[in-house]
Symmetry: C2
DNA sequence: GGTGAATCGTCTGTACCGCAGATGATATTA
DNA sequence: TAATATCATCTGCGGTACAGACGATTCACC
């Protein structure tokens, strides 16, 4: 394909979803390759991140945030609990719910993963300049958090944080 | 990322993959909702787009572009051929391969879909200003197309971030 | 205070979907 | 011609998500 002129390059369709899917696929493959310690690869990394950084009150909230089914969350957390990465704690306020908290080992594993994932992302976005990467991340996050008509009207416009660390 | 211990804002995980996955999920849901005429919903839309706009020579190239298995492509195209949207034509140059071309009905359906998808994207990116949407699309496309094998192989140089051994 | 509806997490069964392997047809090379 | 590789297809298997039902618990309402 390097011999073909630029106009006939496959994938020249400016397809929003195709770009998203391709990027996510590439990103996921790299994260999978770096996720030796986690069950479920990319999904596990996202789950552990949501457990640690997004303080979701319950298992159902966790599932809704990650966009997966409640029944799936059950055996997903089974695997994580079996590896000693998270714990199910009874919520004293609502004894139906379970509070999912990360163990020390979970925090440790996540920290190691985050470093590797950051390196993988830099590799993935090698075609963009640093300023463009920052811009892409910001736009993605804003678009992702601002989606849906069921948006929280109380959500104040974030992004007063300034430029993220390089 | 800066993990400020005092900060406990919900959903504040600046997770690249999470943004990608969320956006893709939302986009896919909207495209699915608009894909009455297509099999396989979002996947079908992407397939038909690749068939029409990206002139891929063979079924295998199509599969590689879309990131799906060859065997999956077989019954995916079976469904499309059954609906009269595409045709398998024998490639005179290589009679093993099949050239996948869209029928008139396929072009028609795709045109209608593209209009609906454009509207859905505008709705999805309602939180962004027009200039930001354009910027996001461009950055996404550049990042997605820049991850191909036609990138020069010198990018394997590890940056000075000092990743863990691996 | 009591009753029914709703929610949370779990379990069970089912259907789907992607992947590995094998197969027939064809192209390429020795 | 023989041998090997590639293309598309078919078959079987494993995993995974989804619908539904279930006990436990909370909430709404009278």
């Amino acid at each position: 394909m390097s011999t073909t002129p630029t106009e006939a390059r496959p994938g020249r369709h400016s397809l929003f979803g195709w770009s998203l899917a391709t990027l996510l696929r590439e990103w996921s493959a790299r994260v999978d390759a770096a996720a030796d310690d986690l069950p479920q690869g990319t999904r596990g990394y996202q789950l552990l991140t949501a457990v640690v950084h997004g303080n979701l009150p319950s298992q159902a909230a966790l599932a809704a945030t990650l966009g997966i089914d409640r029944t799936v969350m059950t055996y997903l957390l089974d695997a994580f609990e079996g590896c000693g990465l998270v714990e199910r704690q009874l919520d004293p306020a609502d004894r139906r719910a379970r509070r999912i908290v990360a163990t020390d080992k979970g925090l440790e594993v996540l920290a190691a993963m985050e470093a590797r994932v950051a390196a993988a992302e830099d590799d993935l976005l090698a075609g963009l300049e640093p300023a463009q990467r920052t811009s892409l991340r910001e736009l993605l996050e804003r678009a992702a958090t601002g989606t849906g008509p069921d948006e929280d009207p109380c959500r104040t416009v974030v992004e007063a944080t300034g430029p993220p660390p390089g």
